[in-house]
Amino acid sequence: MTSVLKIRDLTLGFRKGRQTAQVLHGISMHVNAGEKVALVGESGSGKSVTAQLALGRLQQERGTLTSGEIEVVGHDLIRHPEAMAPERGHRVTMIFQDPTSALNPVFRIGEIFTEVLRSGGRKVTAAEARDRALKALAEVHIPDPARALDSYPFQLSGGMNQRVMIAMALANEPELLLADEPGTALDVTVQAQTLRLMDDLVTEKGTSVLFISHNLSVVREFADRVYVIYRGNIVEHGRTDQLFANPRHPYTRALLSAAPKLIGGGLPDLPEHSDAFRDPLIVHPGCGEPHEVSA
């Protein structure tokens, strides 16, 4: 099995003046071809920076210190982050939290779509772009694709914009889709619909997904495998069914008990930090990292 995304002992720190803030403390993870993997954790745990590193963006900023390995669609992004530039928008794409703000209000959907299809300097004629955009919008069940293409983003609802974002992210047939809390800005029913739609499409196209979220119920529906991240360390790794049936790390248990329930009481009292949350990584049977298995 080949991995589209492979991260090994990755550390990340931000240097400001003489001080360094360590954000990731040596995390390892992988996403195989056609697999849907979730990275779950609270705000500030290092989820989004991991996605930015996988896009090769963060490494190029000044004051960023990285070590370890990141390999995305065959590129070594620690040594050559610039190799990612032509792949972005093609072999690797991304979906964002707030679909409406991710679409520039001064352009029509059709114009933005053309830009996406032309990203990385690919030559696509206007007619061809429109044709592909129409097909892509029909795939995400947009009722009148031609009308949507001629609309401005603020004329469409949030749910429609999210479908447009999904269509755009999948239009160039990427190998890896990074979904950074998709649809968190939408209401739950719309979020559920669009996520199911995204699930169907990526399964059909065999796209690998790294799904970044703090929402456990969404992850449970969507992901094949789950990594739980706490303060820059992966604390638990397992298949979705294993992890939800038998959470073994104290932090995962705390996270699960914090999910709101339909029946019974308010939120439990959770310690914000607990020494137990720093327990070593727990890996469920059959899950390990590729290099550990072969070694």
Binding site: G89, D98, A102, L103, N104, P105, V106, F107, V116, G120
Partner: protein, 282 residues
């Protein structure tokens, strides 16, 4: 900034009678300036030659606004003064606006030392009162039309830099900027194709307001004798020249002053109307 389609903005603009008054005044002044050669009763009075048989005449049917000290028709010279004022305003802004906008985009988007250098430079310019700065520049340049324009241009760009910088700083946090960067867009593409169109409402509104202010500034320089030199008809120098004959020949100063007021008021009302219509943050 909220995104609004232009038709919504127009409906809002139209419903405000004050904005419409501004629009009418502006169109009126521009029309006078454009067709000055046809409209004016005595086009030959633009130059230094007047009619010495009719000096210092009070307003009459032949000379609606009276005549000046060498017998030139004041109405004619005021209409040509509109032409010069508007032309100067357009020239000054067509240089200072693009320069200011580009520097604001660079400072706001690139950040770092580019931001530091550009914004501190802007602060230095903004810290000096505009008229004082323009007078200082004119102090060591010969008082000509070109130099007056140059002086006003030099002190005008920082306002656009500051305005665009602030808009860019808030727009750069929008998701579409990240989305463009993630699909591999270059910095120039993000700045000019993605962010710049979102700055347009603010910049256009400020531009309209500024035409009035530039007219005022240029007239002030001429009033002080630092701008346009005679015999070119200029509203500011006409007010200055006439002031010597107050209150007997009151029309010499009052009519050019009223003309400046009408022009500036028109553009200000129009600009205010646009600002409300676009919700622009000027």
């Amino acid at each position: 900034m909220s995104a609004k389609s232009s038709s919504v903005a127009w409906t809002e603009f139209r419903s405000n009678p004050i904005s419409i008054l501004g629009l009418i005044l502006v169109v009126f002044c521009i029309a006078l300036a454009l067709f000055a050669d046809v409209i004016t009763p005595y086009p030959e009075h633009v130059g230094p030659i007047g009619d010495f048989t009719a000096i210092n005449q009070a307003p009459s049917a032949a000379h609606w606004f009276g005549t000046d000290t060498i017998g030139r028709d004041l109405l004619t010279r005021i209409i040509y003064g509109f032409r010069l004022s508007l032309l100067m305003a357009v020239l000054v802004l067509s240089i200072s606006m693009p320069v200011g906008v580009i520097l604001g985009l660079l400072a706001g988007y690139l950040g770092g030392w580019v931001e530091f250098v550009l914004m501190r430079l802007t602060d230095i310019f903004l810290a000096i009162p505009p008229l004082v700065l323009a007078m200082a520049i004119m102090g060591f340049l010969p008082a000509t039309l070109t130099n007056a324009m140059l002086a006003v241009t030099v002190m005008w760009w920082p306002w656009y830099t500051r305005l665009v910088y602030n808009v860019v700083r808030s727009e750069a946090r929008e998701g579409y900027v990240l989305a463009a960067e993630v699909i591999g867009a270059s910095s120039p593409h993000v700045m000019f194709r993605e962010i710049l169109p979102n700055c347009a409402p603010a910049v256009l509104t400020k531009l309209t307001l500024d035409i009035g202010f530039v007219v005022l500034m240029v007239s002030s320089l001429s009033f002080l004798g630092l701008g346009v030199q005679p015999p070119t008809p200029d509203l500011g120098s006409m007010v200055a020249d006439g002031a010597k004959y107050m209150p007997d020949a009151w029309w010499l100063s009052i009519f050019p002053a009223l003309a400046i007021m009408v022009l500036v008021l028109g553009f200000n009302l129009l600009g205010d109307g646009l600002r409300e219509a676009f919700d622009a943050e000027v």
